[in-house]
Protein backbone atom coordinates (compact mmCIF):
# COMPACT_ATOMS: atom_id res chain seq x y z
CA UNK A 1 0.00 0.00 0.00
CA UNK A 2 1.58 3.27 -1.04
CA UNK A 3 1.13 6.59 0.63
CA UNK A 4 0.92 10.06 -0.73
CA UNK A 5 4.13 11.46 -2.16
CA UNK A 6 3.58 14.60 -0.10
CA UNK A 7 2.83 12.76 3.10
CA UNK A 8 5.53 14.77 4.87
CA UNK A 9 3.58 17.96 4.32
CA UNK A 10 0.48 16.19 5.55
CA UNK A 11 1.95 16.11 9.03
CA UNK A 12 0.35 19.06 10.79
CA UNK A 13 2.72 21.95 11.08
CA UNK A 14 1.99 22.24 14.77
CA UNK A 15 3.55 18.83 15.36
CA UNK A 16 6.86 20.06 14.05
CA UNK A 17 6.65 23.21 16.08
CA UNK A 18 6.28 21.23 19.27
CA UNK A 19 9.72 20.41 20.55
CA UNK A 20 8.92 16.80 21.32
CA UNK A 21 6.42 15.33 18.86
CA UNK A 22 4.39 12.51 20.33
CA UNK A 23 4.89 13.63 23.93
CA UNK A 24 2.97 16.86 23.99
CA UNK A 25 -0.67 16.51 25.10
CA UNK A 26 -3.07 16.96 22.21
CA UNK A 27 -6.36 16.30 23.96
CA UNK A 28 -7.05 16.31 27.62
CA UNK A 29 -10.33 15.36 29.23
CA UNK A 30 -10.72 16.18 32.91
CA UNK A 31 -13.62 15.22 35.14
CA UNK A 32 -16.02 14.87 32.22
CA UNK A 33 -19.61 14.35 33.29
CA UNK A 34 -22.44 13.68 30.85
CA UNK A 35 -26.10 13.56 31.83
CA UNK A 36 -29.35 12.74 30.12
CA UNK A 37 -32.31 15.11 30.02
CA UNK A 38 -34.01 13.29 32.90
CA UNK A 39 -31.07 14.13 35.15
CA UNK A 40 -29.50 10.68 35.27
CA UNK A 41 -25.74 10.83 34.95
CA UNK A 42 -24.29 8.61 32.23
CA UNK A 43 -20.60 9.46 32.48
CA UNK A 44 -19.30 10.09 35.98
CA UNK A 45 -16.14 12.14 35.78
CA UNK A 46 -13.76 10.70 33.22
CA UNK A 47 -10.11 11.76 33.01
CA UNK A 48 -7.57 11.00 30.33
CA UNK A 49 -4.87 12.64 28.29
CA UNK A 50 -3.95 11.85 24.75
CA UNK A 51 -0.40 12.66 23.69
CA UNK A 52 0.10 13.85 20.14
CA UNK A 53 0.76 10.99 17.75
CA UNK A 54 -0.39 8.26 20.12
CA UNK A 55 -3.09 5.65 19.69
CA UNK A 56 -5.42 5.29 22.63
CA UNK A 57 -8.04 2.61 23.00
CA UNK A 58 -11.32 3.00 24.84
CA UNK A 59 -12.79 -0.39 25.61
CA UNK A 60 -16.04 -1.36 27.32
CA UNK A 61 -19.45 -2.83 26.72
CA UNK A 62 -22.35 -0.90 25.25
CA UNK A 63 -23.63 1.61 27.78
CA UNK A 64 -20.23 1.93 29.42
CA UNK A 65 -19.90 5.57 28.35
CA UNK A 66 -17.06 5.15 25.89
CA UNK A 67 -19.07 6.37 22.93
CA UNK A 68 -20.67 9.25 24.89
CA UNK A 69 -17.19 10.37 25.92
CA UNK A 70 -16.08 10.47 22.30
CA UNK A 71 -19.23 12.22 21.21
CA UNK A 72 -18.64 14.84 23.89
CA UNK A 73 -15.21 15.48 22.43
CA UNK A 74 -16.76 15.84 18.97
CA UNK A 75 -19.60 17.98 20.30
CA UNK A 76 -22.09 15.55 18.81
CA UNK A 77 -24.03 14.27 21.79
CA UNK A 78 -27.51 12.91 21.10
CA UNK A 79 -30.36 15.37 21.61
CA UNK A 80 -31.19 15.70 25.30
CA UNK A 81 -27.77 14.53 26.48
CA UNK A 82 -25.39 17.19 27.73
CA UNK A 83 -21.96 17.71 29.19
CA UNK A 84 -22.67 18.74 32.78
CA UNK A 85 -19.17 19.05 34.13
CA UNK A 86 -15.48 18.83 33.45
CA UNK A 87 -13.20 20.09 30.75
CA UNK A 88 -12.22 18.96 27.30
CA UNK A 89 -9.26 20.79 25.91
CA UNK A 90 -7.68 20.39 22.52
CA UNK A 91 -4.17 21.90 22.42
CA UNK A 92 -5.18 24.08 25.34
CA UNK A 93 -8.45 25.30 23.75
CA UNK A 94 -11.39 24.56 25.99
CA UNK A 95 -14.00 22.88 23.80
CA UNK A 96 -17.01 22.72 26.11
CA UNK A 97 -17.22 26.52 26.19
CA UNK A 98 -17.06 26.84 22.40
CA UNK A 99 -20.07 28.15 20.49
CA UNK A 100 -21.60 25.52 18.19
CA UNK A 101 -20.36 27.21 15.03
CA UNK A 102 -16.76 27.11 16.24
CA UNK A 103 -17.13 23.43 16.96
CA UNK A 104 -18.38 22.78 13.45
CA UNK A 105 -15.26 24.48 12.15
CA UNK A 106 -13.06 22.30 14.36
CA UNK A 107 -14.64 19.10 13.13
CA UNK A 108 -12.82 17.95 10.06
CA UNK A 109 -9.92 20.36 10.39
CA UNK A 110 -8.86 19.39 13.91
CA UNK A 111 -11.07 16.48 14.95
CA UNK A 112 -12.64 13.81 12.81
CA UNK A 113 -14.47 10.57 13.32
CA UNK A 114 -15.50 7.38 11.57
CA UNK A 115 -18.29 5.16 12.82
CA UNK A 116 -19.61 1.65 12.51
CA UNK A 117 -21.95 2.04 9.56
CA UNK A 118 -20.16 3.93 6.77
CA UNK A 119 -23.05 3.74 4.30
CA UNK A 120 -25.31 5.88 6.47
CA UNK A 121 -22.85 8.78 6.40
CA UNK A 122 -22.76 9.00 2.62
CA UNK A 123 -25.43 10.31 0.29
CA UNK A 124 -26.57 7.29 -1.74
CA UNK A 125 -27.32 9.32 -4.87
CA UNK A 126 -24.01 11.16 -5.21
CA UNK A 127 -20.74 9.53 -6.25
CA UNK A 128 -18.31 8.99 -3.39
CA UNK A 129 -15.70 11.04 -5.20
CA UNK A 130 -17.98 14.07 -5.48
CA UNK A 131 -18.74 13.83 -1.77
CA UNK A 132 -15.07 13.63 -0.89
CA UNK A 133 -14.27 16.55 -3.21
CA UNK A 134 -17.03 18.61 -1.64
CA UNK A 135 -15.51 18.14 1.81
CA UNK A 136 -12.14 19.18 0.43
CA UNK A 137 -13.59 22.32 -1.12
CA UNK A 138 -15.51 23.33 1.98
CA UNK A 139 -12.89 22.46 4.57
CA UNK A 140 -9.67 23.29 2.74
CA UNK A 141 -10.92 25.82 0.18
CA UNK A 142 -9.51 23.95 -2.81
CA UNK A 143 -10.78 24.84 -6.29
CA UNK A 144 -13.00 22.33 -8.05
CA UNK A 145 -10.32 20.74 -10.20
CA UNK A 146 -7.70 20.70 -7.47
CA UNK A 147 -10.21 19.11 -5.11
CA UNK A 148 -10.85 16.36 -7.60
CA UNK A 149 -7.22 15.43 -8.06
CA UNK A 150 -6.62 15.66 -4.33
CA UNK A 151 -9.61 13.37 -3.74
CA UNK A 152 -8.24 10.78 -6.15
CA UNK A 153 -4.87 11.02 -4.36
CA UNK A 154 -6.57 10.46 -1.03
CA UNK A 155 -8.52 7.45 -2.30
CA UNK A 156 -5.27 6.04 -3.61
CA UNK A 157 -3.61 6.64 -0.24
CA UNK A 158 -6.45 4.71 1.42
CA UNK A 159 -5.33 1.64 -0.50
CA UNK A 160 -8.24 1.62 -2.91
CA UNK A 161 -7.38 0.10 -6.25
CA UNK A 162 -8.13 2.19 -9.36
CA UNK A 163 -8.97 5.35 -7.36
CA UNK A 164 -10.15 7.22 -10.52
CA UNK A 165 -12.78 4.53 -10.99
CA UNK A 166 -13.79 4.50 -7.32
CA UNK A 167 -14.18 8.29 -7.52
CA UNK A 168 -17.04 7.85 -10.01
CA UNK A 169 -18.83 5.11 -8.11
CA UNK A 170 -21.92 5.39 -5.93
CA UNK A 171 -21.93 4.14 -2.33
CA UNK A 172 -24.06 1.08 -3.18
CA UNK A 173 -21.44 -0.10 -5.67
CA UNK A 174 -18.78 -0.38 -2.98
CA UNK A 175 -18.30 -3.05 -0.34
CA UNK A 176 -18.38 -2.26 3.39
CA UNK A 177 -14.59 -2.25 3.61
CA UNK A 178 -14.24 0.08 0.63
CA UNK A 179 -16.89 2.43 2.03
CA UNK A 180 -15.10 2.56 5.35
CA UNK A 181 -11.88 3.49 3.49
CA UNK A 182 -13.78 6.23 1.67
CA UNK A 183 -15.15 7.49 4.98
CA UNK A 184 -11.65 7.52 6.46
CA UNK A 185 -10.53 9.51 3.41
CA UNK A 186 -13.41 11.96 3.98
CA UNK A 187 -12.60 12.31 7.66
CA UNK A 188 -8.89 12.96 7.17
CA UNK A 189 -9.40 15.11 4.05
CA UNK A 190 -8.83 18.33 5.93
CA UNK A 191 -5.86 16.85 7.78
CA UNK A 192 -7.20 16.72 11.28
CA UNK A 193 -4.82 15.90 14.09
CA UNK A 194 -7.16 13.57 15.90
CA UNK A 195 -9.19 10.75 14.38
CA UNK A 196 -11.78 8.94 16.45
CA UNK A 197 -12.64 5.45 15.16
CA UNK A 198 -15.79 4.40 16.98
CA UNK A 199 -16.40 0.68 16.32
CA UNK A 200 -15.23 1.51 12.80
CA UNK A 201 -14.34 -2.10 11.94
CA UNK A 202 -17.05 -3.93 13.88
CA UNK A 203 -19.30 -4.57 10.89
CA UNK A 204 -16.51 -5.66 8.54
CA UNK A 205 -15.27 -9.11 7.60
CA UNK A 206 -12.19 -10.12 9.61
CA UNK A 207 -9.84 -9.99 6.66
CA UNK A 208 -11.13 -6.53 5.76
CA UNK A 209 -11.01 -5.45 9.39
CA UNK A 210 -7.32 -6.40 9.48
CA UNK A 211 -6.69 -4.20 6.43
CA UNK A 212 -8.58 -1.21 7.82
CA UNK A 213 -6.74 -1.49 11.15
CA UNK A 214 -3.53 -1.60 9.19
CA UNK A 215 -4.56 1.53 7.31
CA UNK A 216 -5.18 3.33 10.60
CA UNK A 217 -1.76 2.30 11.91
CA UNK A 218 -0.20 3.48 8.65
CA UNK A 219 -1.92 6.87 8.82
CA UNK A 220 -0.60 7.27 12.32
CA UNK A 221 2.93 6.33 11.32
CA UNK A 222 3.10 8.36 8.10
CA UNK A 223 1.04 11.42 8.95
CA UNK A 224 1.39 11.65 12.69
CA UNK A 225 -2.36 11.21 13.08
CA UNK A 226 -3.45 10.76 16.68
CA UNK A 227 -5.96 7.94 17.09
CA UNK A 228 -8.71 7.20 19.55
CA UNK A 229 -10.00 3.70 18.88
CA UNK A 230 -13.30 2.82 20.51
CA UNK A 231 -14.20 -0.85 20.50
CA UNK A 232 -15.86 -3.58 22.49
CA UNK A 233 -13.18 -5.93 21.18
CA UNK A 234 -10.05 -6.09 23.32
CA UNK A 235 -8.12 -7.71 20.49
CA UNK A 236 -8.76 -4.83 18.09
CA UNK A 237 -7.51 -2.38 20.70
CA UNK A 238 -4.48 -4.49 21.47
CA UNK A 239 -3.52 -4.55 17.82
CA UNK A 240 -3.62 -0.79 17.24
CA UNK A 241 -3.21 1.04 20.54
CA UNK A 242 -0.33 1.68 22.92
CA UNK A 243 -2.54 2.70 25.83
CA UNK A 244 -5.99 1.56 26.80
CA UNK A 245 -8.74 2.90 29.06
CA UNK A 246 -11.28 0.41 30.34
CA UNK A 247 -14.78 1.89 30.69
CA UNK A 248 -17.46 0.48 32.91
CA UNK A 249 -20.80 2.09 33.72
CA UNK A 250 -19.64 5.61 32.93
CA UNK A 251 -16.24 5.52 34.60
CA UNK A 252 -12.73 4.48 33.70
CA UNK A 253 -11.86 1.55 35.93
CA UNK A 254 -8.38 0.93 34.64
CA UNK A 255 -5.90 2.65 32.38
CA UNK A 256 -2.37 1.90 31.32
CA UNK A 257 -0.26 0.65 28.48
CA UNK A 258 -2.05 -1.97 26.43
CA UNK A 259 0.55 -4.59 27.29
CA UNK A 260 0.32 -3.97 31.01
CA UNK A 261 -3.49 -3.84 31.09
CA UNK A 262 -3.92 -7.01 29.05
CA UNK A 263 -1.10 -9.01 30.61
CA UNK A 264 -1.41 -7.90 34.22
CA UNK A 265 -4.88 -6.43 34.76
CA UNK A 266 -5.33 -4.88 38.18
CA UNK A 267 -9.07 -4.27 38.18
CA UNK A 268 -11.33 -7.34 38.50
CA UNK A 269 -13.56 -6.04 35.69
CA UNK A 270 -10.64 -5.90 33.26
CA UNK A 271 -9.75 -9.43 34.28
CA UNK A 272 -13.34 -10.46 33.63
CA UNK A 273 -13.27 -8.86 30.18
CA UNK A 274 -10.07 -10.72 29.32
CA UNK A 275 -11.43 -13.99 30.66
CA UNK A 276 -14.63 -13.54 28.66
CA UNK A 277 -12.56 -12.84 25.59
CA UNK A 278 -10.53 -16.00 26.09
CA UNK A 279 -13.58 -18.11 26.91
CA UNK A 280 -14.56 -18.33 23.27
CA UNK A 281 -12.68 -17.46 20.15
CA UNK A 282 -9.30 -17.90 18.64
CA UNK A 283 -7.47 -16.82 21.76
CA UNK A 284 -8.97 -19.78 23.61
CA UNK A 285 -7.56 -22.23 21.11
CA UNK A 286 -4.19 -20.48 21.10
CA UNK A 287 -4.08 -20.38 24.86
CA UNK A 288 -4.83 -24.09 25.09
CA UNK A 289 -2.00 -24.77 22.69
CA UNK A 290 0.47 -22.66 24.64
CA UNK A 291 -0.51 -24.42 27.84
CA UNK A 292 0.04 -27.85 26.35
Amino acid sequence: MSTLPDSATAVPAAANAAGEPGRETLLSVRGLRVSAADGSELVHGVDFEIPRGSAVGLVGESGSGKTLTCRSVLGLLPVGVEVTGGEISLRGTELTALPAAEWVRLRGTDLAAVFQDPASYLNPSITVGAQLAEVLRVKTGLARRAARSRAVELLHAMGLHRPEHVYTQYPFELSGGMLQRVLIAVSIAAEPELLIADEATTALDVTVQAEVLELLAELRRDRGLTLIVVSHDLAVISQVCDTVHVFREGSIVEAGTTRQVLRAPRHPYTLELIENHERFGIDRVRKQRSQR
Binding site: L76, R107, G108, F115, K139, S187, A189
Partner: protein
Protein backbone atom coordinates in the same frame (compact mmCIF):
# COMPACT_ATOMS: atom_id res chain seq x y z
CA UNK B 1 -59.46 -0.25 17.64
CA UNK B 2 -56.32 0.96 19.37
CA UNK B 3 -55.64 3.19 16.39
CA UNK B 4 -58.91 5.05 16.83
CA UNK B 5 -58.93 5.39 20.60
CA UNK B 6 -55.44 6.90 20.40
CA UNK B 7 -56.68 9.56 17.99
CA UNK B 8 -59.66 10.37 20.23
CA UNK B 9 -57.30 11.39 22.97
CA UNK B 10 -56.09 14.34 20.89
CA UNK B 11 -58.13 17.52 20.79
CA UNK B 12 -58.43 17.55 17.00
CA UNK B 13 -59.47 13.89 16.93
CA UNK B 14 -62.10 14.38 19.58
CA UNK B 15 -63.57 17.48 17.89
CA UNK B 16 -63.71 15.67 14.57
CA UNK B 17 -65.36 12.65 16.14
CA UNK B 18 -68.02 14.79 17.82
CA UNK B 19 -68.83 16.60 14.57
CA UNK B 20 -69.01 13.31 12.69
CA UNK B 21 -71.21 11.72 15.33
CA UNK B 22 -73.59 14.68 15.10
CA UNK B 23 -73.69 14.49 11.29
CA UNK B 24 -74.26 10.76 11.40
CA UNK B 25 -77.03 11.14 13.96
CA UNK B 26 -78.66 13.80 11.80
CA UNK B 27 -78.53 11.61 8.71
CA UNK B 28 -80.02 8.63 10.52
CA UNK B 29 -82.83 10.33 12.42
CA UNK B 30 -82.85 13.55 10.38
CA UNK B 31 -85.70 12.56 8.05
CA UNK B 32 -87.89 11.96 11.13
CA UNK B 33 -87.08 15.38 12.53
CA UNK B 34 -87.95 17.24 9.36
CA UNK B 35 -90.58 19.82 10.35
CA UNK B 36 -92.18 19.85 6.84
CA UNK B 37 -92.59 17.50 3.94
CA UNK B 38 -89.40 18.15 1.94
CA UNK B 39 -91.23 17.74 -1.35
CA UNK B 40 -94.24 19.91 -0.55
CA UNK B 41 -94.48 23.19 -2.48
CA UNK B 42 -95.84 26.33 -0.90
CA UNK B 43 -96.46 29.91 -1.92
CA UNK B 44 -93.77 31.22 0.46
CA UNK B 45 -90.90 31.03 -2.00
CA UNK B 46 -87.35 32.19 -1.35
CA UNK B 47 -88.04 33.14 2.27
CA UNK B 48 -85.11 34.19 4.47
CA UNK B 49 -84.44 32.15 7.59
CA UNK B 50 -87.17 32.64 10.17
CA UNK B 51 -88.70 30.95 13.19
CA UNK B 52 -91.00 28.96 10.90
CA UNK B 53 -88.30 28.08 8.35
CA UNK B 54 -84.91 28.02 10.09
CA UNK B 55 -82.96 27.73 6.83
CA UNK B 56 -85.53 29.60 4.77
CA UNK B 57 -87.38 28.23 1.73
CA UNK B 58 -86.32 27.55 -1.87
CA UNK B 59 -87.67 28.72 -5.22
CA UNK B 60 -90.64 26.34 -4.99
CA UNK B 61 -91.37 27.30 -1.39
CA UNK B 62 -90.00 24.05 0.04
CA UNK B 63 -88.49 24.16 3.55
CA UNK B 64 -84.68 24.03 3.15
CA UNK B 65 -84.10 22.60 6.64
CA UNK B 66 -86.45 19.70 5.88
CA UNK B 67 -84.77 19.14 2.53
CA UNK B 68 -81.28 19.14 4.06
CA UNK B 69 -82.40 16.68 6.76
CA UNK B 70 -84.19 14.45 4.26
CA UNK B 71 -81.25 14.60 1.84
CA UNK B 72 -78.78 13.42 4.51
CA UNK B 73 -79.05 9.64 4.06
CA UNK B 74 -78.83 9.91 0.26
CA UNK B 75 -75.74 12.09 0.44
CA UNK B 76 -73.83 10.40 3.25
CA UNK B 77 -74.74 6.75 2.73
CA UNK B 78 -74.02 6.93 -0.98
CA UNK B 79 -70.54 8.17 -0.08
CA UNK B 80 -70.18 5.19 2.28
CA UNK B 81 -71.34 2.89 -0.45
CA UNK B 82 -68.73 4.22 -2.86
CA UNK B 83 -65.96 3.93 -0.28
CA UNK B 84 -67.11 0.41 0.62
CA UNK B 85 -66.92 -0.69 -3.00
CA UNK B 86 -63.49 0.97 -3.31
CA UNK B 87 -62.27 -0.72 -0.13
CA UNK B 88 -63.19 -4.21 -1.22
CA UNK B 89 -62.02 -3.76 -4.78
CA UNK B 90 -58.74 -2.14 -3.69
CA UNK B 91 -57.71 -3.84 -0.48
CA UNK B 92 -58.25 -7.45 -1.52
CA UNK B 93 -56.10 -7.29 -4.67
CA UNK B 94 -53.73 -4.90 -2.86
CA UNK B 95 -52.80 -7.45 -0.22
CA UNK B 96 -53.00 -10.54 -2.37
CA UNK B 97 -50.87 -9.02 -5.15
CA UNK B 98 -47.92 -9.27 -2.77
CA UNK B 99 -48.44 -12.96 -2.04
CA UNK B 100 -50.08 -14.65 -5.02
CA UNK B 101 -47.33 -14.68 -7.59
CA UNK B 102 -46.03 -12.52 -10.38
CA UNK B 103 -48.69 -13.08 -13.01
CA UNK B 104 -51.50 -12.06 -10.70
CA UNK B 105 -49.46 -9.12 -9.46
CA UNK B 106 -48.82 -7.94 -12.99
CA UNK B 107 -52.49 -8.15 -13.95
CA UNK B 108 -53.72 -6.25 -10.88
CA UNK B 109 -51.09 -3.57 -11.40
CA UNK B 110 -52.11 -3.02 -15.01
CA UNK B 111 -55.83 -2.91 -14.18
CA UNK B 112 -55.21 -0.34 -11.46
CA UNK B 113 -53.00 1.71 -13.80
CA UNK B 114 -55.87 1.72 -16.27
CA UNK B 115 -58.38 2.89 -13.64
CA UNK B 116 -56.09 5.69 -12.46
CA UNK B 117 -56.12 7.05 -16.00
CA UNK B 118 -59.93 7.56 -15.99
CA UNK B 119 -61.24 10.98 -14.89
CA UNK B 120 -63.68 10.69 -11.97
CA UNK B 121 -66.67 12.79 -12.92
CA UNK B 122 -66.70 11.93 -16.58
CA UNK B 123 -66.45 8.20 -15.89
CA UNK B 124 -69.26 8.42 -13.32
CA UNK B 125 -71.47 10.38 -15.73
CA UNK B 126 -70.73 7.87 -18.49
CA UNK B 127 -71.59 4.91 -16.28
CA UNK B 128 -74.79 6.59 -15.11
CA UNK B 129 -75.71 7.32 -18.72
CA UNK B 130 -75.02 3.71 -19.65
CA UNK B 131 -76.71 1.94 -16.76
CA UNK B 132 -79.50 4.40 -16.08
CA UNK B 133 -79.49 7.55 -14.04
CA UNK B 134 -79.63 6.16 -10.51
CA UNK B 135 -77.41 6.85 -7.57
CA UNK B 136 -76.34 3.18 -7.20
CA UNK B 137 -74.86 3.14 -10.68
CA UNK B 138 -73.04 6.39 -10.12
CA UNK B 139 -71.64 5.12 -6.84
CA UNK B 140 -70.44 1.91 -8.47
CA UNK B 141 -68.46 4.10 -10.81
CA UNK B 142 -67.04 6.21 -7.98
CA UNK B 143 -66.22 3.09 -5.97
CA UNK B 144 -64.34 1.53 -8.87
CA UNK B 145 -62.35 4.70 -9.30
CA UNK B 146 -61.49 4.81 -5.58
CA UNK B 147 -60.14 1.24 -5.74
CA UNK B 148 -56.64 2.17 -7.06
CA UNK B 149 -56.13 4.45 -4.06
CA UNK B 150 -56.82 1.63 -1.62
CA UNK B 151 -54.89 -0.79 -3.79
CA UNK B 152 -51.77 1.35 -3.77
CA UNK B 153 -51.89 2.07 -0.05
CA UNK B 154 -52.47 -1.50 1.09
CA UNK B 155 -50.02 -2.92 -1.41
CA UNK B 156 -47.29 -0.56 -0.23
CA UNK B 157 -47.99 -1.42 3.39
CA UNK B 158 -48.14 -5.16 2.68
CA UNK B 159 -44.94 -4.99 0.62
CA UNK B 160 -43.04 -3.35 3.44
CA UNK B 161 -44.11 -6.11 5.81
CA UNK B 162 -44.13 -9.07 3.43
CA UNK B 163 -40.38 -9.47 3.62
CA UNK B 164 -40.01 -8.73 7.32
CA UNK B 165 -37.93 -11.33 9.07
CA UNK B 166 -40.74 -12.26 11.42
CA UNK B 167 -42.87 -13.09 8.39
CA UNK B 168 -40.10 -15.36 7.10
CA UNK B 169 -39.88 -16.89 10.58
CA UNK B 170 -43.60 -17.56 10.51
CA UNK B 171 -43.37 -19.14 7.06
CA UNK B 172 -40.51 -21.34 8.29
CA UNK B 173 -42.87 -22.69 10.93
CA UNK B 174 -45.07 -23.80 8.02
CA UNK B 175 -47.66 -21.03 8.33
CA UNK B 176 -49.91 -20.51 5.32
CA UNK B 177 -50.20 -17.17 3.57
CA UNK B 178 -53.59 -16.64 5.19
CA UNK B 179 -52.23 -17.23 8.70
CA UNK B 180 -49.27 -14.91 8.09
CA UNK B 181 -51.65 -12.22 6.87
CA UNK B 182 -53.89 -12.58 9.87
CA UNK B 183 -51.21 -12.71 12.55
CA UNK B 184 -48.48 -10.42 11.25
CA UNK B 185 -49.54 -8.26 8.33
CA UNK B 186 -53.13 -7.16 8.94
CA UNK B 187 -52.51 -5.25 12.17
CA UNK B 188 -49.75 -3.22 10.51
CA UNK B 189 -51.85 -2.29 7.50
CA UNK B 190 -54.91 -1.34 9.51
CA UNK B 191 -53.85 2.14 10.75
CA UNK B 192 -52.91 3.25 7.22
CA UNK B 193 -56.14 1.81 5.94
CA UNK B 194 -58.27 3.65 8.51
CA UNK B 195 -56.58 6.93 7.60
CA UNK B 196 -57.12 6.34 3.90
CA UNK B 197 -60.73 5.34 4.43
CA UNK B 198 -61.45 8.53 6.36
CA UNK B 199 -59.84 10.62 3.62
CA UNK B 200 -61.60 8.67 0.90
CA UNK B 201 -64.97 9.09 2.61
CA UNK B 202 -64.41 12.83 2.65
CA UNK B 203 -63.55 12.71 -1.04
CA UNK B 204 -66.50 10.42 -1.71
CA UNK B 205 -68.86 12.89 -0.09
CA UNK B 206 -67.48 15.70 -2.23
CA UNK B 207 -67.84 13.59 -5.36
CA UNK B 208 -71.39 12.60 -4.49
CA UNK B 209 -72.21 16.23 -3.86
CA UNK B 210 -70.58 17.23 -7.14
CA UNK B 211 -72.48 14.55 -9.05
CA UNK B 212 -75.82 15.43 -7.51
CA UNK B 213 -75.01 19.09 -8.06
CA UNK B 214 -74.62 18.22 -11.73
CA UNK B 215 -77.80 16.19 -11.57
CA UNK B 216 -76.19 12.81 -12.10
CA UNK B 217 -77.70 9.88 -10.21
CA UNK B 218 -80.61 11.66 -8.63
CA UNK B 219 -83.94 12.50 -10.19
CA UNK B 220 -84.82 16.13 -9.30
CA UNK B 221 -87.54 16.35 -6.69
CA UNK B 222 -85.55 14.01 -4.49
CA UNK B 223 -83.41 16.15 -2.13
CA UNK B 224 -79.64 15.75 -1.81
CA UNK B 225 -77.07 18.19 -0.45
CA UNK B 226 -75.44 18.72 -3.80
CA UNK B 227 -78.84 19.04 -5.51
CA UNK B 228 -80.03 21.67 -3.01
CA UNK B 229 -76.96 23.78 -3.68
CA UNK B 230 -77.56 23.48 -7.42
CA UNK B 231 -81.22 24.46 -7.28
CA UNK B 232 -80.60 27.38 -4.94
CA UNK B 233 -77.68 28.64 -6.95
CA UNK B 234 -79.88 29.94 -9.74
CA UNK B 235 -81.63 32.27 -7.30
CA UNK B 236 -78.50 33.54 -5.60
CA UNK B 237 -79.38 37.18 -6.33
CA UNK B 238 -82.79 36.91 -4.59
CA UNK B 239 -81.79 34.55 -1.76
CA UNK B 240 -78.03 34.66 -1.20
CA UNK B 241 -78.22 32.47 1.95
CA UNK B 242 -79.80 29.60 -0.02
CA UNK B 243 -76.80 27.32 -0.67
CA UNK B 244 -75.02 28.31 2.54
CA UNK B 245 -76.50 25.69 4.88
CA UNK B 246 -76.03 22.54 2.79
CA UNK B 247 -72.60 23.81 1.75
CA UNK B 248 -71.65 24.36 5.40
CA UNK B 249 -72.82 20.87 6.26
CA UNK B 250 -70.72 19.32 3.49
CA UNK B 251 -67.76 21.42 4.56
CA UNK B 252 -68.07 20.45 8.21
CA UNK B 253 -68.37 16.75 7.41
CA UNK B 254 -65.46 16.69 4.96
CA UNK B 255 -63.34 18.81 7.27
CA UNK B 256 -64.07 16.59 10.25
CA UNK B 257 -63.23 13.44 8.27
CA UNK B 258 -59.91 14.84 7.16
CA UNK B 259 -59.15 16.09 10.66
CA UNK B 260 -59.89 12.65 12.07
CA UNK B 261 -57.66 11.05 9.44
CA UNK B 262 -54.81 13.36 10.41
CA UNK B 263 -55.31 12.63 14.10
CA UNK B 264 -55.23 8.87 13.50
CA UNK B 265 -52.17 9.16 11.33
CA UNK B 266 -50.35 11.23 13.92
CA UNK B 267 -51.09 8.89 16.79
CA UNK B 268 -50.55 5.50 15.21
CA UNK B 269 -47.86 3.43 13.62
CA UNK B 270 -44.86 4.68 11.73
CA UNK B 271 -46.30 8.12 11.07
CA UNK B 272 -46.81 8.68 14.77
CA UNK B 273 -43.28 7.68 15.61
CA UNK B 274 -41.88 9.88 12.87
CA UNK B 275 -43.78 12.84 14.24
CA UNK B 276 -42.56 12.23 17.75
CA UNK B 277 -39.00 12.08 16.45
CA UNK B 278 -39.51 15.34 14.61
CA UNK B 279 -40.81 16.91 17.79
CA UNK B 280 -37.76 15.84 19.74
CA UNK B 281 -35.69 17.58 17.11
CA UNK B 282 -33.83 14.49 16.00
CA UNK B 283 -31.75 15.28 13.00
CA UNK B 284 -29.03 13.78 10.90
CA UNK B 285 -25.62 14.95 11.82
CA UNK B 286 -23.04 15.54 9.18
CA UNK B 287 -19.64 14.61 10.51
CA UNK B 288 -17.49 15.40 7.56
Amino acid sequence: MKTITGALRTRAGLTAAIVLAAVLLLTVIGPLLAPYNPLKYSAEILQPPSAAHWFGTDYLGRDVLSRVLAGGPRSVFTAFEAVGIGLVMGVVPGITSVYLGRVYEWITLRVMDGLIALPFLIFAIAVAALLGNAVQQAMLAVGILLAPLFYRITRAAALSHANAQYVTASQLFGASVWLVLRTHVWSKILPTLVVTTANATANGLLIVSSLTFLGVGVVPPEPTWGGIIASDLSYLSQAPYGPVFPALLIMATVGALNLLADAIRDTSGDYGRARILRKRGARRVNLA
